[in-house]
């Protein structure tokens, strides 16, 4: 029996537990949870999804994307433009579900265009080029007033459906985290890690690095775009400043750093901890919450560079090894 469970763990890892968790969570709204609790849970799912996406390009592939929230913004604005009938240029006026596929598609196209240029750059150059992309897109959105509403933003049709939001985000999170687990164990994931560890070496082993990098970038952009679209729908109002928020870049990075770069479960744990921390900071000392997060980022870099999961794995903590959280290779911060 023990042997059987060990084989099961080796083959499937903690994914049965993950499925069980999703099942338990899907029963949560029917227990009479309050609207505000459902909202908080939805936000946690949103951040877990975002952090997992960032981890695909930043943690597994080793391209630290300092402007990943640009795809969040692209998704949000695509949704906003497609469902709203206030924009001057055209008014497609689609429903949420009709607009949703387009938001993902536009994000992917944008990612391929941007990635084609920026993914040639390595290390800090890529990071800064993406930060520039983020700031530049915000300026462009502000200038393209006839389509995007400029600085005054767009009002989306107000629809309040907390339970629907909850299930949408729960399913998206389940899909994304499972996909990341699958990618991490597949040949594709191995290739991505190989690119992170030694790009030239990976290329010499016959890995098509350009394709793999662009693929990882596009997948991360697709789901981030969906998150942005959902957020715009839920928030019912978008303008360049609330959508292209620098905090979002910082938080995505910090969640992955805290949980462990390049691990599957690191971003999940990191996002859970940091979102709840940020939420309580926000409600208790609103003015100081970003300051505290900045200090926390520096403390993480100084004292837990491998993140929670990475540190546990590097020290061969036994029960986690038994649970086979992620892969045996060290979560290396490169």
């Amino acid at each position: 029996m023990k042997k059987f469970s060990r084989i099961l763990l080796r083959k499937w890892g903690v994914f049965p537990l993950w499925g069980l968790l999703i099942l338990v969570l899907s029963a949560y709204p029917s227990t009479g949870a309050s609207s505000i609790d459902l909202f908080t849970a939805t936000q946690v799912f949103l951040w877990v999804t975002l952090a997992s996406n960032w981890n695909l390009i930043g943690g597994m592939t080793g391209y630290l994307d300092f402007g990943h929230a640009v795809f969040f913004g692209i998704g949000a604005y695509t949704m906003g433009i497609l469902v709203t009938n206030t924009s001057l240029a055209f008014s497609p006026n689609l429903s949420f579900w009709q607009a949703l596929p387009w938001t993902g598609l536009v994000s992917v196209i944008f990612a391929l265009l941007i990635g084609w240029a920026t993914l040639r750059l390595k290390g800090p150059y890529f990071s800064i080029a993406m930060l520039s992309t983020f700031a530049a897109t915000r300026e462009l959105i502000r200038i393209l007033r006839p389509i995007t509403g400029g600085g005054s933003g767009l009002d989306l049709p107000p629809v309040l459906n907390r339970v629907g939001d909850y299930y949408f985000m729960l399913i998206l999170m389940a899909i994304v985290v499972s996909l990341m687990g699958w990618i991490r164990r597949s040949k594709l994931g191995m290739s991505l890690v190989a690119i992170r560890e030694d790009e030239i070496g990976a290329e010499m082993r016959g890995i098509n690095t350009t394709f793999h990098k662009l693929f990882a970038f596009a997948v991360a952009a697709f789901f981030t775009g969906l998150c942005g679209a959902f957020w715009a729908w839920q928030n019912t109002y978008i303008d360049p400043d609330v959508v292209f928020l620098q905090n979002r870049n910082i938080l995505m990075i910090m969640m992955c750093m805290l949980g462990g770069l390049g691990t599957v479960w690191g971003p999940v744990i990191g996002a859970l901890i940091l979102y709840l921390l940020q939420d309580s900071l926000w409600s208790n000392l609103a003015d100081y919450h970003l300051l505290v997060l900045g200090i926390l980022l520096i403390l993480i870099i100084l004292f837990v560079p491998y993140g929670i999961i990475g540190t546990l794995k590097n020290n061969n903590i036994s029960f986690l090894e038994l649970l086979n959280l992620g892969n045996k290779t060290k979560a290396k911060f490169k």
């Binding site: 300092f66 040639r120 080029a129 910082i250 870099i301």
Partner: protein
Amino acid sequence: MNQFLQALINGLLLGGFYAVMVLGFSVLWGVMGVINLAHGEFLMTGAYLAWLLFNSFSIDPFISLLLIMPVMFIVGFVMQKYLLNQLLERPSLATLLATFGISVILANVHKIIYTADPRNVAVPYSGSFEVMGFSFPIIKTLIFVIALGIMLGLYLFLQYTRLGKAIRAAAQNKNAARIVGIDIEKVYAITAGICIALTAAAGAMISPIQAIYPFMGQPFTLKAFTMTVLGGLGRIPGALLGGMLLGIAEVMVATYVPGIGTNLGVVISLLVLILVLILRPQGLLPGLRKMQTD
């Protein structure tokens, strides 16, 4: 033609400011490989200090920068000594993230102290004078002249003093510099102090013509990055060239593309950056340190 020449003059004046603004960033990167993402926030700190001194003691920003520079030297020294030097042996992205953290901290500390309302320093001499039919804004011309002075001073310092030579040696080869008895960590801390002081001085100088608010820093950081890549790391002529080119490009777009004004600064700098990195990744001039693109 006249419009073109006037735009060129404006571009050169803006470029002079950009050149002195980028100096700190460029030298920090060239000497110790630190890409300082908090660059714009240090500039903002300098601008706020100038505003504070102007508002409370009515000290002119161009005089108060003599007070601001020593203070910010200490700030840079402490930052390098107690934070960034701890990360020297770690991969370069660790310092990148650490400076990112510093930028968040600085911006929010200033938001708490001064609130997010934009401030401005209303100096009495904000007009312009004319030479041969072209108008020269007084403040921008003053910045241009001081910027050239600072650059000359820094050049002479790096080229001819003992400490300057030590800094250049540390940039060329860290280990060899250690062998000949240079205290690398101290030299690094002093370099960071000088760089942060210069950045804050640039902030103090720009304060009369730029609205000061806690989140003004990021565009400056991004532009500084582009200019440094353009001109080569850590070299003063490179900073001058990069600053001039970006300044002229920005003013030309603002002049000839209607309805946009100067709002496209970051977009232009992104386009220039991508073009340079794809076409000539080693920069236009040779730098103090080779850019490690891998």
